[in-house]
């Protein structure tokens, strides 16, 4: 059985060795221990000895070449003829992937062309094994990221080996071809599936690391005070104070507004809870008024309207609510927020009643004057949830009627205004055309 002659790893941190010259010629008889060739590495030149008795054959690297460590560069065979190929296949009985014999020359690798590309698909080779090539010649076409690129040979010489076939997907960085300086006697063509490769790994492949059972992080928690952070910098608060504020819906910016010095700790949350507030949640008496109107009139109006123009769902109701609120309070500008909690949509409308059939305005964090809660299409007929940051006007269907409620707290509307708002809104739902005219 022939012995492989390998470019040895001689120095301390050596990846390749420069083959200075062969001291034996192909076909020469050699004895184990005879100097076979000279290698330059780590700034010194070493003679490398024959590993066995026999004949030097299958020489695949020539003087002057820098050869990767571990690569087979020749064989010591039982006869001067050897295996008759410069690129002997790896011994098939080897239990571990032995570094396959390699063709000498400049390597062409599958380039990383795309943004996040692991492999490239070889569309076509433009050169065949044995062809002469110039550095700028197109060697192959590669498809990646849905586009096809031409790849140049990069070196003058001859195609000594092609290690993949057209149609094969090859990992980026893999050697796919070899360009040799001299015309090869027996150029090589293999498939990427043959795993003919490349440089023998310096380190054994580690076993794939099994990912530990690590659940993805749970859905991100809502930010402590979404959309309400200080504009000019972060609020200084302890991790625990921040967490509790988020859990309890407390707004730390109100501590800033009240002039309480930072940093905030859990004790400051008590102060926060005790702050007097314009916000409805803090103690003002909740009020609620309800009304009911037939649905038929509004339904006919919407049918008619849909023939005239496209309006977003809820836009008509927003117009009616805005008009009712403006009539009741005399507000110059107002903003209606339409919430459809069962669908999960929220749309803001700035002065929709002045803009004709309005389109929603982009949310910009401005507080609403009125919240219109649309529960139509659900089985909910009535509800009493208390006011929010603005008065809440809810519409639900109850048989053939709309059931309407308005919830607010003192300070948001006075009672007379509130009665006028719900009355005006109910009237507009009942007789939409009257409003339009």
């Amino acid at each position: 059985m022939p012995h492989e002659v390998i470019m040895p790893a001689l120095g301390m941190a050596q990846d390749t060795g420069l083959l200075v010259n062969w001291l034996k010629q192909p076909g020469d008889a050699v004895k184990a221990g005879d100097a076979l060739f000279e290698v330059e590495t780590d700034k010194s030149t070493m003679e490398v000895e024959a590993p066995a008795d026999g004949f030097l054959t299958d020489v695949s690297a020539s003087a002057g070449e820098d050869v990767p460590v571990g690569q087979v560069i020749a064989r010591i065979s039982d006869s001067p003829e050897g295996a008759g190929t410069a690129a002997p296949a790896a011994a098939s009985e080897a239990p571990a992937p032995a570094p396959a014999a390699k063709v000498a020359g400049k390597e062409v690798i599958m380039p990383a062309l795309g943004m996040a590309q692991d492999t490239g698909l070889i569309v076509a080779w433009h050169k065949a094994p044995g062809d002469a090539v110039a550095a700028g010649d197109v060697l192959l076409e590669v498809e990646t990221d849905k586009s096809t690129m031409e790849v140049e040979a990069g070196h003058d010489g001859f195609v000594a080996a092609l290690y993949a076939e057209a149609g094969e997907d090859v990992p980026v960085g893999n050697v796919i071809a070899v360009i040799s300086a001299d015309k090869p006697d027996s150029p090589v063509q293999t498939s990427a599936r043959d795993k003919t490769p490349a440089v023998a790994p310096r380190k054994p492949d580690p076993q794939p690391v099994q990912p530990a059972a690590r659940p993805e992080h749970p859905a991100p928690k809502p930010a402590a005070t979404p959309g309400r952070d200080m504009v000019d910098g972060r609020i200084l608060a302890s991790p625990k104070a921040r967490r509790l504020a988020a859990e309890q819906g407390l707004d730390l910016t109100r501590l800033v507004a009240a002039g309480i010095a930072q940093p905030y700790h859990v004790a400051d949350l008590e102060t926060l809870r005790a702050l007097p507030t314009a916000s409805p949640s803090a103690g003002a008496a909740p009020c609620r008024i309800t009304a009911s109107v037939p649905r038929a009139g509004f339904a006919a109006f919407v049918d008619w309207l849909s023939d005239q123009a496209r309006t977003p769902p809820g836009a008509v109701q927003a117009v009616f609510a805005a008009a009712s609120l403006r009539a009741a309070t005399g507000a110059k500008t107002l903003r209606v927020r339409v919430e459809a909690p069962l669908i999960g949509t929220v749309s803001d409308y700035a002065d929709p009643d002045l803009a004709g059939l309005a389109q929603a305005t982009p949310a910009d964090g401005a507080p609403p004057s009125l919240i219109l809660r649309d529960l139509t299409g659900s089985r909910i007929t009535d509800l009493a949830l208390g006011a929010d940051e603005a008065p809440v006007l809810s519409i639900a269907t109850d048989g053939e009627a709309f059931s309407i409620s308005l919830e607010f707290v003192d300070g948001q509307l006075d009672r007379t205004q509130a009665i006028a708002v719900i009355d005006g809104f109910a009237g507009r739902l009942d007789e939409p055309l009257r409003h339009l005219l």
Binding site: P8, A13, D42, K43, M46, A96, P99, P204, Q207, Q210
Partner: protein, 328 residues
């Protein structure tokens, strides 16, 4: 203790030396062909030291080994397969792949470990001997170290105690002439033997390439240790064929090719002992050739086995940091 008077014992020593050389040749090939992680320090050339001494020991006797420890490991009775598995970091290695070349040891045959701190095991070997004395056990501990390690202060502290307390320890200095990349004359003042003698320790010099001479001395000193006459010091003059480690290729600045050739051609312990065996009629050249071929085949098969063996599971990374405690 059985004396090595029959041919079987001679052939065992010959075979063990051949085994060490074969192991190192394969290890060298694994390194050269980039199949082995890390690097390694070759014992080739020093086989008569490990074999001559370890043949005088039983499994109950302990040794401590060094970064150049493959030879001690083989000589103390280790198996090729588990050694190559260790060399390649495989699960079936003697240390489950956690030690590698520099810490390779077959603990079940009394090898207390190969130490990659030069001189690091001198305390351990002496402590093992202290334990033998405290427990009235007649086992002996041999501390292998190189000439470079004689520059470590620890040795003088433990020789002092070993001599004071008559501990059954043999300090075996493998003087291969070089302290890493420096000639020993440049790092050692005075006499190395004289240093041990200063503590009143009976000291010897022996040709480390002559396995019979080494073995004869070792047998004698081990027997005396068992009788409480220790400690002893032996300086074994030997030679390492390779560099300090496998990557130490450019050695001209510290030793010449001619010097290496003389040792390899004239003083090789295996060749010379083989010639002696043939001359004495213990074994023919053919029989010796057969031993070498068999050992080589065994080594090659072990390499193939180890290359195909599996790495430890990643879950082993945090195992063996601590020894388990008995359930309380």
């Amino acid at each position: 203790m059985e004396r090595k008077t029959n041919s079987e014992d001679y052939l065992r020593m010959y075979t063990q030396m051949v085994r060490i050389r074969a192991f190192e040749d394969q290890a060298n090939q694994l390194y050269l062909s980039a199949k082995m992680p890390g690097l390694t320090h070759m014992y080739s050339g020093e086989e008569a030291v490990a074999v001559g001494i370890c043949t005088a020991l039983t499994d109950a006797d302990r040794i401590t080994s060094t970064h150049r420890g493959h030879g001690h490991c083989v000589a103390k009775g280790a198996d090729f397969r588990q050694m190559f598995c260790e060399l390649l970091g495989k699960e079936e290695g003697y240390c489950r792949g956690k030690g590698g070349s520099m810490h390779i040891a077959d603990q079940s045959h009394g090898n207390l470990g190969a130490n990659a701190i030069v001189g690091g095991s001198m305390g351990i070997a002496t402590g093992s001997a202290l334990r033998a004395k405290l427990q009235d056990s007649d086992d002996v501990t041999v501390c292998f170290f190189g000439d470079g390690a004689t520059a470590q202060g620890l040795w003088y502290e433990v020789m002092n105690m070993a001599a004071l307390w008559h501990l059954p320890v043999i300090y075996a200095c493998e003087n291969n002439g070089y302290s890493e990349y420096t000639a020993t004359e440049e790092i050692a003042a005075g006499s190395i033997v004289g240093r041990a003698e200063a503590f009143g320790i009976e000291s010897f010099q022996v040709d480390g390439q002559d396995v019979l001479a080494v073995n004869e001395l070792a047998e004698r000193l081990v027997a005396r240790c068992r009788k409480g006459e220790g400690p002893f010091f032996i300086e074994l003059k030997t030679y390492r064929y390779h560099g300090h480690h496998v990557g130490d290729i450019n050695r001209d600045y510290y030793r010449s090719k001619e010097e290496e050739t003389i040792w390899k051609e004239k003083r090789d312990p295996i060749v010379n002992f083989g010639q002696w065996l043939a001359k004495q009629g213990v074994a023919s050249d053919t029989e010796l050739e057969k031993i070498r071929a068999e050992v080589k085949a065994e080594a090659e098969a072990a390499v193939e086995y180890a290359l195909a063996a599996s790495y430890p599971d990643v879950s082993e990374v945090s195992m063996h940091v601590y020894a388990p405690n008995d359930a309380a």
